[in-house]
Amino acid sequence: MLWRDARVRWIGGMLVLLLMVTGLGAWQSARDYGAEVARVTAAERARWLGQDAKNPHSADHYGLWVFRPSSPLAIFDPGTEPYTGRMVRIEAHLFNDAVYRAVQDAGPFDRAGLSDVSDVVGLVVPLVALLLGFAAFAADRERGTLRLALGNGAPPGPLFAARFTALTLVLAVLVCLPLLTLGGVAIASLGTAGWQAWPRLLVWVAVQALYGAVFLLIAMIASLLARTARGALTISLAIWIALCLVAPRLATAGMEMVSPAPSYRETRLRIDGDLRPHKSAEASDARAQATLARYGVSDQQELPVDLRGLIMVENDHHAFAVYDRELGAFFAALAARDAAFGWAGLLSPRVALQRVSEGLAGTDFVQHAHFVWSAEAYRRAISERMNAEIRDNPQRDGRAMLAGPELWREIPPFAFAPLPLSRSLAEIRVPALLLGLWLALLAAGSIPLIRRLAP
């Protein structure tokens, strides 16, 4: 019956078209990005290995760029990726930011609301569910057919369950089939190493279907409550606006008031403030003198190690400690704030879905922070090796130490291992539970209404 309804065909067709167009566009961009990153990563590795003989500290400054690989499910939900850089310059002394965020190159309209598949699911799927479900009982009531059905002994409970199941199946087909198709294409054609892509895809699609079911239930409850189809539609649309448009923005405003974001700028200024006195000319001179005293010599030529290398090791260790303390606290605060945002899922299932979706897609802030710290660990490993080479090979009479390909080859390529799915599931447990809670509460709320169903 439902498939024969022209309204269902039109709505379904538009939804599938929107999902496919958005998804295929994102897939094409992901392919291009992946290919470009692979090419430049290989070129960077070749440049690193092919450096001329030079002082290891110069090589440390020469450095290289590393790039964050995208999860294949980023074509559905890019999550934090557009707002956080995916390219990091690895070089001596500096914990550089991940830079060049996609959003800074986007036009002013790109945040309008339908820029990716997760936006379409977040905004349009609820609308489709509401348009499918609002007339479930209200239209029958208006036409008088509900009186006939109930009069003929049709029990309200099974009647409701049958309609809800039928509509859920229609919605599931409209949502899940295109998503599974797109996901399969992405997994088959994009890099999936370490991403546990299939389990992520299946859970991700199931969550989207669950989200659609929440709104279907809302529409059917509106249909039970309203005396006319007009009333049911008005209630449904008002709820869509409230839950999908207003509540998410209210959540951002509320979060800013309750728990203001820590300031990255201030964190960086504090780091500068900590590092500056340590690297001043006076402090450097004092450390050099202390080192000579520690070894019981008066001239650096008499040291068993290279003074410059030793001081660089000490300086870097000081900087590492400052970075760990300040940026560690900053990233932890931001991750905690994002986690707290999960509780805003109480305001709207869309907010809960966003957190769950990006977590499952592997594009949440925790994955970004993991990438940033992985890149920093790689940078430190390079600096430590280069500094050790200088420290352990003292040069006399002002000669500069030169190293060659043997040393460059000791540095392995940067390899990023994403956090496993189990960790992602742990991160999203609160919003996932809230999404389930929405469904459970709506189902529970519908029971007395079904019992009181009157023509």
């Binding site: 020469y62 609301g113 905004l123 998410p248």
Partner: protein
């Protein structure tokens, strides 16, 4: 339309609408939303001002540090100061001490819209190194969850929620009466449908315009917004005109939907779907169009180019050749000074210039793209009333893409002006080194700290004024066209 019948009907409709509880509930909710939007806007502006003040403090601190270090190092003592940490060395000051910032201050109407301010930096520290390819690397790493959902600012309330309030109040006028069968009774009266429709939708428009303009003014006042500098009053008046047009436009859309005589359900469905198309779907399509018309160049390709030039510089004797050529171009008479080519600071200036020249096309391409995207966005924005108003509010708030593109260009120009300030001084010190004193850690005599150029901050009111005028004209044009269409369709009753 007979004025004698219209005015009493209008008064009656005004009374009826104002007597409805739903009207007051919607207007109260809208007022709360406007006040919340004003509050978040005020918080954001305060944050921007704090960031600019911090940058200013940091610049002052660096200047103070340099002066104090110069004084300390001007006294004979047994201590070694590296040339790159020596404030009396122009190169040392430029690379170690100098903290120069390019800043984009908020405009007097900044509270209206967050626009691009959440994602584009308003404060950029000038960097002379060659580790960054483009200058716009700085950003406030904040909550991506909040960025994705978008801010609850005044622009959001005015662009998205005001039309919904209009639809809620005016969307079922006539259509609800048609559904209830009252329309037949009205049609039986000796009154033209245009007069009835005009009175009903005119009353709704009057109430909504007053509520939106008054509510916005109240929200601004509660957000602590008081003074308006000279030149901005006209912009504000034009903005109010644009906002009125936006409200009237949606009331006219309600009238047009009612004129289809399909009942309240159809009217509401049509209006909400139209709203979704105008505020969500069309802007998304326009975003795609802007990306096609002004495609962003690849940042990764530029990174690759930067690495190629770095690799080339350090390969073989390329560095020596580049430095010699750079030095000859600037100081033609120094061929008898091969020692100059060996100095690390000259070598570094030559390297940076070499790097700059190679990357110039990439940087110009990115700048052209930023300007192109802003220009296309401004043109295409006129295709949707929502984007028209959004662009107007962003421009008035100074958070639009065009202002940011101009800011990036100014920041680049500022960096070049700083280099132009320091380069001749560094070269002069290398040619004729003049020590401060014998036995002092300070090597040379650079002390022009206060003469270092400062970033020229500009807040131009013209762009905001012109955009507001264009927006008001466009929106009034669309509103009148829709009203005209509805007027034509209300020629006869359809009952």
């Amino acid at each position: 339309m007979s004025q004698s019948r219209f005015l009493p009907l209008l008064r009656t409709e005004l009374r009826l609408i104002l007597r409805e509880r739903l009207t007051w509930a919607i207007l109260a909710a809208l007022q709360v939303a406007l006040c919340l939007g004003g509050h978040t806007g005020a918080q954001r502006v305060a944050g921007e001002r704090a960031a600019i003040a911090q940058a200013s403090d940091d610049a002052a601190r660096s200047l103070r540090d340099a002066k104090e270090a110069a004084a300390r190092y001007a006294v004979p003592r047994a201590m070694t100061v590296n040339y790159w940490q020596d404030p009396t060395h122009a190169f040392g000051y430029m690379h170690y001490f100098l903290a120069a910032y390019a800043v984009k201050p908020p405009t007097p109407l900044a509270v209206l819209s967050a626009g691009q301010s959440e994602i584009q930096p308003a404060v950029m520290k000038t960097s002379f190194g060659f580790s960054t390819v483009f200058e716009d690397t700085a950003y406030e790493l904040g909550s991506s969850a909040a960025l994705r959902l978008g801010p609850f600012d005044l622009a959001f309330v005015l662009i998205y929620l005001v039309p919904l309030a209009v639809i809620a109040i005016a969307g079922t006028r006539l259509a609800a009466e048609q559904d209830a069968g009252i329309l037949r009774l009205i049609a039986a009266q000796p009154v033209h449908p245009r007069i009835v429709a005009g009175a009903k939708f005119g009353a709704a428009a009057l109430i909504l315009v007053a509520a939106v303009i008054g509510g916005t003014a109240l929200a601004l006042a509660l957000a602590g917004w008081r003074d308006l500098p000279p030149g901005w009053a006209t912009t504000l008046a034009l903005l109010a005109a644009a906002l009125c047009a936006y409200v009237v436009l949606w009331v006219a859309a309600c009238a047009l939907a009612a004129s289809l005589w399909r009942g309240a359900v159809a009217s509401l469905t049509i209006l909400v779907l139209t709203w979704a198309c105008v505020t969500v779907v069309l802007p998304a399509l326009l975003g795609l169009a802007v990306d096609k018309l002004a495609p962003p160049p690849s940042r990764i390709a530029a990174i690759d180019a930067s690495r190629q030039v770095q690799d080339a510089f350090y390969r073989g004797d390329e560095a020596a050749k580049v430095t010699a050529a750079w030095l000859t171009a600037r100081l033609p008479g120094t061929t008898d000074r091969p020692d100059l080519r060996e100095t690390p600071q000259i070598n570094r200036l030559a390297r940076d210039a070499f790097y700059e020249t190679t990357l110039a096309p990439y940087r110009a391409g990115m700048q052209a793209r930023a300007e192109g995207a802003a220009a296309w966005s401004a043109r295409l924005a006129l295709l949707s009333p929502a984007t028209t108003l959004a662009l107007t509010l962003d421009t008035a708030a100074g958070t639009d893409a065009a202002r940011h593109a101009a800011f990036l260009a100014s920041a680049s120009e500022y960096r070049r002006s700083l280099r132009a300030f320091f380069e001749p001084r560094i070269l002069a010190q290398e040619l004729r080194p003049a020590a401060v004193c014998a036995g002092c850690p300070a090597r040379l005599d650079f002390d022009a700290y206060d003469a270092v150029p400062r970033f020229p901050t500009v807040i131009a009111a013209d762009a905001a004024r012109w955009q507001a005028a264009l927006s008001a004209l466009t929106l009034w044009g669309v509103a009148l066209a829709l009203a005209g269409l509805a007027f034509r369709r209300f020629a006869i009753w359809s009952v």
